[in-house]
């Protein structure tokens, strides 16, 4: 196939001559089929317009169904009608030209200046809409024709297609006559090119009839024919057109003709757009509005967004996803049922013909579904023809074999917001009905396993497969181009598991350790009776040297480094974890400093190996040691409860004092705040402080061994605030960042349980209980109010950001970074940036957004000896 280059596209308006020229049939008969179900000549299903019924041949090109692309016909309208799409432009033109001499309402010199300006813009490839708009504005304001001196009467445009000159209504015929007389020279100033457009063409005298292939009829189970909406509309137009003709021939009264003319206008208008304001949409017999031309194209379900920007594909599958930490991050578990349905083509050569034969002969899983002959004919492989087909194949044939372990596939989760939403995985065929993926790749897809479904696509050519492997494999996306750090990494149990393994100086027996590292690819382990957790973690580390503060770091004023009492200072030397705890900062997605270091030092392959080992090790540790939480994990001793009660009581008393000070007028306002605002802020601060104090007391009594605390401090899941709310005190509920003061606003109270004007903590949504103790009914109500705001926020945010994203993608889609580092618009070659991002740095290859990681360079050159 020779690709043709399109140099330019120009949009013009069809002239009546053009419409007649491209027409193959004049349509006059409103009937479609005769009694035998055969298309009527001169009807809307005329055989010259193309064929949709199998067995018939097109009378224009002789093609069968599928071969004939269809051909346009035309309807000669009995009277001219306005084209809705141009109605507004017509109104502007009528107001912009003299009612007598039809010249533009501008002096020649002014006109020439505008035309010159427009031509300059065209040459510069810029938009000239603003100039044209100015011309229309000026001409409309002109009251006297500069050419013939005629006084101008403003023409009122009434949607959708009516024009009034004072009281007098203009018929489409009048309009057309006026437009005809506008001279070519004046059109340029209105932004119209007289070489391609004449304004009188905006008023239709002849209507193109689209080919039948654009409006195929469907045959219902009952054998009845159901016509397309467009055909229905065209039938209406022809019917009224014929009636108009007959009435005119018969010399019917003017009034009747005018009514028919208006009806014709209505049908032609709704034929183009059935959602124009000002007239009722044309309805189907059932009452459903018809889908006419504009509706076919418009909006999310229209031709552009539904059929052209997004298409349905073959060789794809969709099902629920579930986790499997035993898979590599590069792999995806595919159910056997899906693997048997999806196929990969084998292009048969002398070298693989024997293998291809074997696939055809096999009756179960890695078998073949189809063979394709060199002439493109597909033959289904069934038990009865296996042997025969296996004999028949020769080099040049294609055998479509089942999906197998090791095939590359693309895996995707919507919404596809960034490029990591579609990555290439290697297939692992597994039993059961879900796609399986390593939980470490959840962050890039933003997937969880509460019922998420994902899509799978099979690249069909060797080129596509190679490209997927090289560019799209998961391991190529461990480092994110968004922030220059790892986006694939440990989550939840991976982090808790490694925390349990490496925190402090725990010692594990040889047997335990062997269980832990069994699933990893660690081979050489020094023989010992017992190992510390840090030693075990060191087994999976490659030779790296690293030093950083862990997530559990308390942020002491003076860092004691290796002597940290929280074991929060991580030192890794030559692949040995010397001190510190492995947590989110070390191996987590988004943070993962160790992953970062390995990917940069040893490349993506080694980083993948580490993540695979790390997830397997962590899962085995956490299952081996056990990790649970229950209601008694959030129990605290009585004395702690008393202390918390004390703190809250004190805070409440303080708030009461504040309120009293406010009422007595003793409250000092903060700078720039009103008295009320000052009071609110002080109360919020006081109550916030109380909750924090309660949380501190609670965590002191919970200890570091508490599972919820471990998860919070290690960064595995949840925060200390969540723990506080479970154990000590839920705290102030808020709507729009303020205490809850809605409801009975006229009586200044939130619920009838309170006195009007009560400003106390309870009356404004302070929840003093914990989730463990349970909420009082009033507290529960406030909590629900605060919770509802969160839900509404997320719902609104997702829809808004989705639309924002759509607009941004549309604006940026054809920008490209060229080899010289400039960013250019692809079609026009316009330069957007002279250097990508102003510094020319690929963020994926940067260190967390910075061009160079000076610390790392220093470490590499000077060695671990520094400090």
């Amino acid at each position: 196939m020779v690709p043709k280059n399109i140099a330019a596209i120009k949009f013009e308006v069809l002239s009546p001559q053009e419409i007649r020229r491209m027409s193959v049939a004049k349509i006059t008969n409103p009937e479609t089929y005769d009694d035998d179900g055969f298309p009527i000549d001169g009807g809307l299903m005329d055989l010259r317009l193309g064929v949709i019924d199998p067995g018939l041949r097109c009378r224009t090109c002789g093609g069968k169904t599928g071969e004939c692309p269809g051909h346009f016909g035309h309807i000669e309208l009995a009277a001219p009608v306005i084209h809705v799409g141009y109605a507004k432009l017509i109104a502007r033109l009528l107001n912009g030209t003299c009612r007598k001499c039809k010249r533009i309402l501008l002096k020649n010199e002014r006109k020439e200046k505008f035309i010159e300006e427009i031509e300059k813009r065209i040459k510069m490839n810029q938009s000239y809409d603003d100039i044209v708009k100015e011309v229309f504005r000026l001409t409309k304001a002109t009251k006297k024709c500069p050419h013939c001196g005629e006084e101008q009467v403003e023409i009122k445009f009434e949607k959708p297609t009516f024009y009034y000159e004072g009281e007098h209504k203009l018929t489409p015929k009048d309009v057309r006559e006026r437009l005809e007389k506008i001279p070519d020279e004046d059109l340029l100033a209105f932004g119209l090119d007289p070489k391609s457009v004449r304004p009188e063409w905006f008023v239709l005298t002849v209507l193109p009839v689209p080919p039948v292939t654009t409006r195929p009829s469907i045959i219902l189970e009952t054998g009845q024919r159901s016509e397309d909406d467009l055909t229905h509309k065209l039938v209406d137009i022809i019917r009224i057109n014929q009636r108009f003709l007959e009435n005119r021939e018969a010399g019917a009264p003017q009034q009747i003709l005018e009514d028919l003319w208006e009806l014709l206008q209505y049908h032609v208008t709704t034929y183009f757009d059935n959602e124009v304001s000002g007239i009722p949409p044309a309805k189907h017999r059932s009452g459903r509005p018809l889908k006419t031309l504009a509706q076919r194209l418009k909006g999310k379900e229209g031709r552009f967004r539904k059929s052209l920007s997004g298409k349905r594909v073959n060789f794809s599958a969709r099902t629920v996803v579930s986790p499997d930490p035993c898979l590599s991050i590069n792999e995806v578990g595919v159910p056997v049922e899906i693997a048997q349905e999806l196929t990969v083509p084998i292009y048969v050569t002398p070298k693989n013909i024997e293998m291809a034969r074997e696939f055809i002969l096999r009756r179960e899983h890695p078998s073949a579904n189809y063979v394709v002959r060199p002439d493109g004919k597909r033959l289904k492989v069934i038990d009865s023809n296996r042997k025969e087909l296996a004999e028949m194949i020769e080099p040049g044939w294609i055998v479509e074999r089942h999906l197998m372990d090791g095939d590359v596939v693309l895996f995707n989760r919507q919404p596809s917001l960034h490029r990591m939403s579609i990555m290439a995985h290697y297939v692992k065929v597994l039993p059961y009905k879900t796609f399986r993926l390593n939980p470490a790749v959840c962050p890039p897809y933003n997937a969880d396993f509460d019922g998420d479904e994902m899509n799978l696509h099979i690249p069909q050519s060797l080129e596509a497969q190679a490209e997927a492997k090289i560019l799209m494999a998961v391991q190529e996306h461990i480092l994110s181009p968004r922030f220059g750090g790892p986006i694939v990494g440990g989550i939840h149990d991976h982090i808790s598991g490694l925390y349990l393994l490496t925190h402090g100086n725990k010692v594990f027996s040889k047997e335990e350790v062997l269980q832990f590292i069994r699933a990893t690819d660690v081979k050489d382990v020094p023989l010992k009776d017992a190992y510390t957790g840090k030693e075990v973690f060191s087994f999976i580390l490659p030779d790296i040297t690293l030093e950083f503060k862990a997530e559990i770091c308390q942020g002491c004023e003076k860092c004691k480094k290796e002597n940290c009492e929280y074991d929060a200072y991580v030192i890794i030397e030559k692949g040995k974890l010397l001190c510190g705890t492995i947590d989110e900062k070390a191996v987590g997605a988004f943070k993962g400093l160790i992953i970062d270091e390995i990917a940069r030092k040893y490349g993506n392959s080694e980083a993948r190996r580490f993540i695979d080992n790390m997830t397997k090790l962590a899962i085995r540790v956490i299952t081996g040691l056990g990790f649970t939480i229950g209601i008694d994990d959030v129990d605290i001793p009585k004395e702690a409860e008393e202390q918390i009660e004390d703190v809250i009581k004190k805070a409440e008393r303080k708030v009461d004092e504040l309120i009293r000070a406010y009422k007595d007028g003793n409250l000092e306002p903060m700078p720039g705040r009103s008295l009320e605002e000052t009071l609110e802020m002080s109360i919020m601060r006081e109550l916030g402080k109380a909750r924090d104090q309660a949380g501190k007391i609670a965590s002191r009594y919970l200890g570091d061994e508490n599972s919820a605390v471990i998860m919070a401090v290690s960064g595995a899941r949840g925060s200390m605030l969540n723990v506080t709310q479970m154990v000590a005190c839920i705290g102030q509920q808020s709507v729009r960042g303020e205490r809850i003061m809605r409801g009975y606003t006229y009586s200044k109270r939130s619920l009838p349980h309170f006195k009007p004007g009560d400003l106390g903590p309870k009356a404004r949504g302070f929840v003093r209980n914990s989730y463990r103790k349970g909420l009082s009914p009033i507290e529960f109500f406030f909590h629900a109010a605060g919770g509802r705001e969160g839900l509404v926020d997320t719902a609104v945010r997702t829809s808004q950001s989705g639309y924002l994203q759509r607009r941004m993608i549309n604006a940026l889609q054809d920008l490209k970074v060229e080899y010289d580092g400039t960013v250019r618009e692809q079609t026009s070659g316009i330069i957007v940036q002279y250097k990508y991002g102003e510094d020319g740095v690929d963020p994926m290859k940067s260190y967390r957004g910075k061009a160079v990681d000076v610390k790392r360079l220093l470490r590499e050159i000077v060695g671990g000896a520094q400090q």
Partner: protein, 77 residues
Amino acid sequence: MKVRLQDHILVPKHEILSKDKAEELLKLLGITREQLPKIKTSDPIVKEIGAKPGDIVKITRKSLTAGESLFYRLVVD
């Protein structure tokens, strides 16, 4: 008293590119003049430095990522 726009901290440095430098730039980028981003003669800064239509203005901006970045705009009316 006339205020010089260039003295304002938010206005980056604008200067007219010499003929040779301009040709060099266009050759380096492999484009025609029209493909450059535009700036109008009515722009206050263009008036101040006295650039004429067809001139290329070199703008030295402060950049968060690169410290300093260069930008070129074609003067048009």
